[in-house]
Symmetry: D2
Subunit: 362 residues, 4 copies
């Protein structure tokens, strides 16, 4: 068993990692940290842990429930870092120095350009020297590099949904640089911290747009889409012109990104058809265990609790625009599930280990 | 008191009319129909009616609760028609013939072009001769004509939110013909009929896009926006190029339309700023009792149960696009409240009569 | 117009008072306090206020939105105190001294016995001398005394639902002293403060019992039920034996109290029938504007946003027990609506003023 | 692999069985029926199936998605019957005749007394001869008999929660015959059929009691509790006096049963303490894989998607009554999970096979 630590386990991403790792055949959580809850046992902070798992793993569930939350992690072979940005980078640096491989769920190592980090996170990057070795943790793009790296920067939840939605179109030069993404997220995406806008009475029966001045996943999305397009030989010379508006939705889990793009006519001036677009998408993700091109508009609920991302691509006949719908569970494929997929990849395990559960529906 | 009938009172829009009319100083409901519930009293079908109103109106509440639901309406001065399309047109024809003025909440008289009706509703228009006299019931646009007409075509819920959002920009020639509207609605917008997709267990914790092949509010939105632009001297020569994607959201009431448009540079090649756009919007709706330009992204919940539409307009600095957010309660300003506003206008009452209640928050 | 102040207006009960008072014909809010938001205008803290009211009251809505939140209230004829317990008593004392009449929404003046207060609230009562003059603000019981008092202690939300449910049975000696009340509340009952258990992601799709060691509304319920029974000549010699278990329910508003009691046989050893019980309940509340005995199990949603309490009483044939179901909106009849009903009563207005709105359904 | 059929797979319990069986090491679904959807593939009816499982089971997921729904089941070793009562009994008879072992999720074989069945289900029992061999499928009670039977009657969802909650107290003679159970269920418990009361707009933000005249799980609960008490040597001579009131709660999954009972004093006239009660409960369920006695009031959400039942027992100090709280997921331990637990038991597999997943939280 590979020993694993989770830093800031009291976050929702930390808790979700516990759920996913409880039945993992090769990883074993042996150290957890969480400053505010230090000294308590995991089962005190998350009473539901006592019922986390039956089956062969019941002893494992008991083991987890009785783990003591520490201020600092013990030495392990792998660490999942669920700390807020900046704090994460500091912790990652220390972990790498002692030889621990790291999946960092914060934003600290996602942007390759530290000045972009400074612009968006209002903070000098704490460990710019590590940016070189960090790999953006989208297995669908960087599987090979993830296998050998010591540091994976796990993508943002919106970024995952949107990048997966637009990669095929941009890599094929199917669309122009003009992109609009209207994304909707459940409330767990805002984290476990206490804020008025996540108070039940405020968030229930409510819908609103936020971060109109610029959401922090914007540069990450643009970086990855431009890189992929370039790698595929597509030139978006002045860069992508992306408008990205996130919305808060009254549900616990789930992201739906509705993506609008201008189709480019082919050599003979014709626009691609819906079925051509769908075929292109199916080809692009053929063989991927967690990305599925479906044949009708997907529902977020079809991914509830699972690591799957569902895509639907079609052409709006009336306007000739490309529409791509992308659904996932923000805490699984959008965070902890993808982190585990990355870890599986880093340690040479089947990417699907521990991620077999289907969506809970209804 | 003006006598009022409600046809198909057992719909959500019928029920909402009852709520709004219970305290109205000038209208009195004296006849209600509803084929499936004919013979029952209103209070049997809607037990909550017995508690509809205290105050000076308690007798009125009792009166409503004890009204018998009939198959056909009795003679009244005003009728609200909440029937499905096609059935509505038949009923409207009969009502007008006997001299009743009508607010029709169906789609039957919204499109001025009967062949467009046939295309979108798959049905030959049952009463094309009446189209001439029907006025599209958006007081903010057609107040003068509504005052004197015998037939108001009450706008669709999405259409109301979207037209109000884009009228100022299109009338001022602020944007190009390229429009994208990503709209989200609560489940009551789907009506009171039984369908699997409005089953609680299916709709709860779920989000999805629908009607990607074309939602029926599309032609109504385009008709009204093009008419208004033309009236304001703006030429959108090849017509508007609108992509409109509606989404079903896990909440009972509320619509949020997120509208994206390409700003046009002015004579000197400059794009308008956010504050210029906001000033333009404020001017456009100055004096309107139910349309408010707010200074931060509005929440649907700020309109829960009220007849207000809240607008927020801003420029996305990164892309130079115009963003307009529009919120309303689909059953009030999006349906029955607007119907009452129209009726007030038709009968020369203050448009705000019976619509004084603010949003219920939280 | 009677001038009104609201202390701690930034609470949900304060906000609900603003909604209800916006259309009131005789009360006008002229002063609001809220320590954390002092210096801001009401419309900044509650942006939805700008859309609070159309109709004749639009100027009033604007007036409210622009009121400045102060640290201390200005002199008014009436004050609604929405402060937490203990802080409330201090404020009430000062208000009464300057001649302001007060409706206190806290628990400070509900218990007539200050040592009981100390036991349940872990705090020496800050103003025991005022207990004598305080009237428990249940108009259905104390209407006459409320008319002339300067200090009303507004009942707790659970207490209102439960006392109204059991008054008729206990006053008639219909049941024994053995009472079990299983009560369920929406999340707004927990207030606007930030707590992990009201975080949307925790409270959504969740149901749990709480305060099993004793909820603070217990002594208030027992006090009022025993007093009423005694006044009606019923002797419950060893006092009531009440088990009261509250539950947190995933909805914003609403309380449903399910009350179980042991029916007492009459002189000839027969138990009362359901129809006898229902007749007794109807008689008891005949003429009450806000308490309604309905003929089927009521839904909390039938009271959403209204000041009504709906009761249903029946006999469980299998066990011979009495069941009483009681529904209300915890923020209206359970708090601010009842506070306004009390204020109307204190100032000689119709109790129903400002409370005409029916439930919003669906 | 044991071949498995699911009858009426288009129900929620059928769908949940598919989810649970997708990763099962020993069972393989080879035949599914569903009259209304006959001729379609499973993946057409449940598009989320295409994303049901990654991991080693992806082929299995594909296999499931492509299964054709038939009118009649093919021959299998095991069948799960998800048909409505009466139809279920007919199908079970045919299955048993051809040698298929059956877990019946309907109510048809739960009541040992066919006249009780007639009284509660208004229907002559279609196969009374089979009642003898049917075993009530509560492994915690009948594990030994389930191992060898050909017919398991899977308990009702409420019945499971309530029987598990009260078995220890009644078996120990801790309480009198006077029982009150206030139970709350999520909406999926009402099934996938279309009804107005499960329409999202009706059920959302609503809470109500129902079946006050008697819920059909009542006789099943009484039968099992009386049998268990008798077996443990406790005499409740006039039988149990149970009041059971179910409530519909605005959430998709979850049952919480709040149980109230009168403690019996021991020989020396003393009532048991909370810690004595808790110890008794812990002992009773020691070693059970799916019943857990927790040390604080459990939340339904701690069981979301898992097969666990969480119990909390305490003494209400003020009244001396016993309180037991019982939580489970109505579709898992309350239906399909328990059905699988029974099937595991029937075929000699570890009861926990396929039921390893923990609760999804938040």
């Amino acid at each position: 068993m590979v020993s694993v630590s989770i830093l800031n386990v009291t976050s929702y991403t930390g808790l979700e990692l516990l759920r996913l790792l409880a039945n993992h055949p090769h990883f074993r959580v042996t150290s957890v940290t969480g400053r505010s809850a230090a000294g308590q046992r995991l089962g005190q902070v998350f009473p539901q842990l006592y019922a986390l798992a039956g089956g062969a793993c019941q002893e494992e569930a008991r083991h987890l429930a009785e783990l003591e939350i520490m201020e600092e992690p013990e030495a392990t072979e792998l660490a999942f870092v669920c700390l807020p940005h900046a704090a994460a980078a500091e912790a990652v640096q220390a972990l790498l120095q002692r030889g621990t491989r790291v999946v960092d769920l914060s934003a600290d190592f996602r942007l390759r350009n530290p000045s972009l980090y400074q612009e968006w996170y209002k903070h000098t990057h704490p460990a710019p020297a590590l940016l070189e070795q960090a790999v953006y943790g989208l297995c669908e793009r960087y599987r090979e590099r993830i296998r050998t790296t010591a540091l994976v920067a796990n993508p943002g939840c919106y970024a995952t949904a949107i990048i997966l939605a637009l990669l095929p179109a941009l890599s094929a030069g199917l669309v122009s640089r003009d992109l609009i993404v209207d994304a909707k997220s459940g409330v767990s995406g805002a984290g476990r911290g206490l804020r008025l806008d996540t108070h039940y009475a405020e968030a229930n029966e409510d819908l609103s747009a936020y971060s109109l001045g610029g959401h922090r996943h914007w540069p990450e999305i643009v970086q990855e889409l431009e890189t992929a397009a370039r790698a595929a030989g597509q030139t978006y010379e002045s860069g992508l012109r992306l408008t990205f508006v996130p919305h808060l939705t009254p549900m616990t889990r789930g992201i739906l990104a509705t993506c609008y793009a201008e189709l480019q006519p082919d050599g003979s001036g014709r626009l691609p058809t819906s079925s051509q677009v769908q075929a292109l998408y199916r080809d692009y993700y053929a063989g991927e265990p967690f990305v599925h091109v479906v044949d009708q508009p997907p529902h977020t609920k079809w991914t509830y609790g699972s690591n799957h991302c569902l895509l639907y691509a079609t052409v709006d006949e009336r306007s000739g625009r490309l529409l791509v719908l992308s659904c996932l569970d923000n805490l699984v494929k959008g965070a902890s599930g993808q982190a585990l997929q990355n870890a599986n990849c880093m340690f040479g395990f089947d990417e699907r280990c521990g991620l077999q559960g289907g969506a809970i529906y209804p």
